[in-house]
């Protein structure tokens, strides 16, 4: 096992990894920008190294400085967290070639899964259903028209390098397709420097269901069941839960097994998430793999009782998975709300600033993962999440009641948060019935 780990991240996830290390007796090295000098992850780490000014591009994205920090601190491994360099395969390579362990998948797996097109081929090879679509990139307008015919309208035009919904277009017939294609390509070029697009069938009111996977270096892979992240606003997840309230047990087993096939096919190591969309008839289609730990990993920890970060560290160090698939059991229901410093009344615009007062919800089955406290100033340079509120109860009904109680109790003065909006969502009959799809929030709650 490692003696020292460097955490190449900030905020709550840096703190989350530091907590796991401390409990494992591993000493921790934090890196920080000058804007984060007083942040909890700096205070809680055994060592903290300043790697640059506030802007990410000059600090948390500076591979050279992070590697140097690992060198001068004598760290043996680097945990990338999520965001920043977490899915940067070049960083992954540099870490390894500098003779540190990278706590995550291999650069090869990362690259294969990083490109949507090659990921799709991997899925097909693993016999995992994908959304009917064009084989590979669209070469020209006529190719697009031909594929659209095969796929069947309405079709979705997606950027191969895209993400977060950027560069997506729906076409309902040949005429709109021809127009939309050009727009999508221009947009993709602008957004990602890569005009490559492909087509796939447009799915009505899809659910976002993802399967948590973990694999060791010895070929053992387990799924930790699914998370339902259908409550989104502009592809930003607002509420995540496990198990999914609408999957049939049959579909649950099928989707988890599919995810495992894909992970094994690509020789994946460490923690990763296989994302699917599921249509109204419980048909599921592979979308992509997130080759990192995710924000919403705690809901899986609560219902399985398995510490994902500790397991990541163990398998990266070469230990075999400490459990078998049969040992992984779902217990109860867990829900997470991301508490963001955003103003729902101002179109969710970020509102960084000083937290003047904070009351943290507590009690039985409540978990609050956060680096914030009264007196902490949320810096404007990074994402606006100030904490994750997670509840775990016997039933989904109890979890909803408990989450509402906690959101009421949570008191943040000085800045606006998303809490009030999440309370509204939790009281909606559609959510309570487990009927939310990925467009529901915008369609029903934010319609103007």
């Amino acid at each position: 096992m490692y003696n020292r780990i460097l955490i190449a991240n900030r905020g709550e996830i840096a703190l989350r990894v530091i907590r796991a290390c401390k409990e494992m007796g591993i000493s921790t090295v934090a890196v920080f920008s000058q804007a984060d000098r007083d942040s909890a992850h700096v205070r809680c780490a055994d060592q903290a190294i300043c790697i640059g000014p506030a802007k990410s591009i000059d600090s948390y994205l500076r591979i050279d400085r992070i590697i140097s920090a690992a060198e001068i601190s004598g760290a043996e491994a680097i945990h990338p967290g999520y965001g920043f360099l977490a899915e940067n395969s070049h960083f992954n390579e540099v870490v390894r070639s500098s003779e540190f362990d990278f706590i995550g998948p291999t650069p090869e797996a990362m690259e294969k899964l990083g490109d949507k097109n090659s990921a799709r081929s991997v899925a097909q090879a693993a016999n995992v259903p994908v959304v009917p679509g064009s084989d590979g990139l669209i070469t020209d307008e006529e190719h697009a028209v031909r594929s659209a015919k095969e796929i069947g309208y309405p079709v979705l035009i997606k950027a191969t390098a895209g993400g977060g919904g950027k560069g997506m277009r729906v076409a309902t017939n040949e005429q709109t397709l021809r127009v939309a294609l050009q727009q999508a390509q221009t947009e993709a070029q602008a957004a990602f420097g890569n005009a490559g697009v492909y087509l796939e069938r447009f799915i009505d009111r899809p659910r976002h269901v993802e399967v948590q996977m973990i694999a060791d270096l010895h070929g053992n892979a387990c799924h930790l069941y699914e998370r339902d992240c259908s409550v989104q606003r502009r592809h930003q997840k607002l509420i995540e839960e496990s198990p999914s309230p609408f999957l049939s047990q049959k579909t649950r087993e099928a989707i988890c097994e599919a995810a495992k096939r894909l992970i094994i096919e690509v020789g994946y190591q460490n923690a990763g998430t296989v994302e699917f969309i599921v249509d109204q008839e419980n048909n599921f289609y592979f979308i992509e793999v997130n080759a990192r730990i995710q924000v919403e990993h705690p809901v899986t920890e609560m219902v399985t009782g398995i510490d994902l970060i500790k397991t990541q560290i163990r398998v990266a160090a070469g230990e075999p998975l400490p459990f078998k698939q049969a040992d992984v059991k779902l217990h109860g229901s867990a829900i997470e709300c991301r508490i963001n410093a955003e103003d729902p009344n101002k179109n969710f615009q970020p509102c960084p600033g000083l937290i003047k007062s904070l009351f943290v919800p507590g009690g039985f089955g409540v978990r609050f993962d956060s680096h914030a406290q009264a007196g902490y100033t949320v810096p404007p340079h990074y994402d606006s999440m100030i904490g994750k509120l997670i509840v775990h109860k016997e039933t989904r009904e109890e979890s909803i009641a408990c989450m509402l109680r906690c959101l009421e109790e949570l008191q943040v003065q000085g800045i606006s948060t998303t809490a009030a909006f999440q309370m509204r969502v939790l009281r909606e009959p559609t959510f309570i019935a487990g009927q939310a799809d990925t467009k529901w929030v915008e369609r029903e709650l934010l319609k103007t």
Partner: protein, 161 residues
């Protein structure tokens, strides 16, 4: 943590006032008087009344110096003609080109903007670090082979030479 931000919303912030008072104590100020638009903060320490000219000025500066003051690392330039050479990168500090040779600079050495004052090794690369200011080295703030992080103060330079 909250030192001196969002003045508009926060003249009455006890946190900030505490920081100011701590600065007053630290630098033994007797009075602080800050004004901006419609806002004013005035703090008087001890029994003695002192005219709020120079000291108040310094006090007014103090909050803006907070980020550096808050840093765990080394000293701040104590007077206008003393400047600090800071590390531009994260790595290991070497005071000489190789173990056999002498240090690049000693206390008293005169340096110009392009004189190399030390080497910092980062990712197995040895980087010459230029002074970037002219003057005389008055203090060396790190030891040979010490690890340094971003903007760690390395040398104090008297720019009067």
């Amino acid at each position: 943590m909250s030192k001196g931000n969002n003045p508009k919303e926060d003249v009455f912030s006890v946190d900030r006032i505490r920081s100011l008072i701590e600065l007053m104590k630290e630098y033994d100020l007797s009075e602080v008087d800050l004004k901006q638009d419609e806002q004013q903060i005035r703090l008087v320490r001890g029994a003695k009344q002192v005219v709020a000219a120079g000291p108040a000025g310094i006090a007014a500066m103090a909050p803006t110096a907070a980020p550096i003051a808050a840093a765990p690392v080394g000293p701040v330039a104590d007077s206008p003609h003393i400047k600090i050479i800071k590390s531009p990168m994260v790595g290991t500090f070497y005071s000489r080109p190789n173990p056999k040779s002498d240090d690049f600079v000693k206390v008293g050495s005169a340096v110009s903007a392009d004189s190399v004052v030390c080497i910092i090794e980062a990712m197995k690369v040895f980087n010459d670090i230029p002074a970037e200011i002219g003057g005389k080295i008055v203090e060396i703030l790190v030891k040979n082979e010490e690890a340094v992080d971003f903007e760690r103060p390395l040398f104090k330079v008297d720019t009067r030479g």
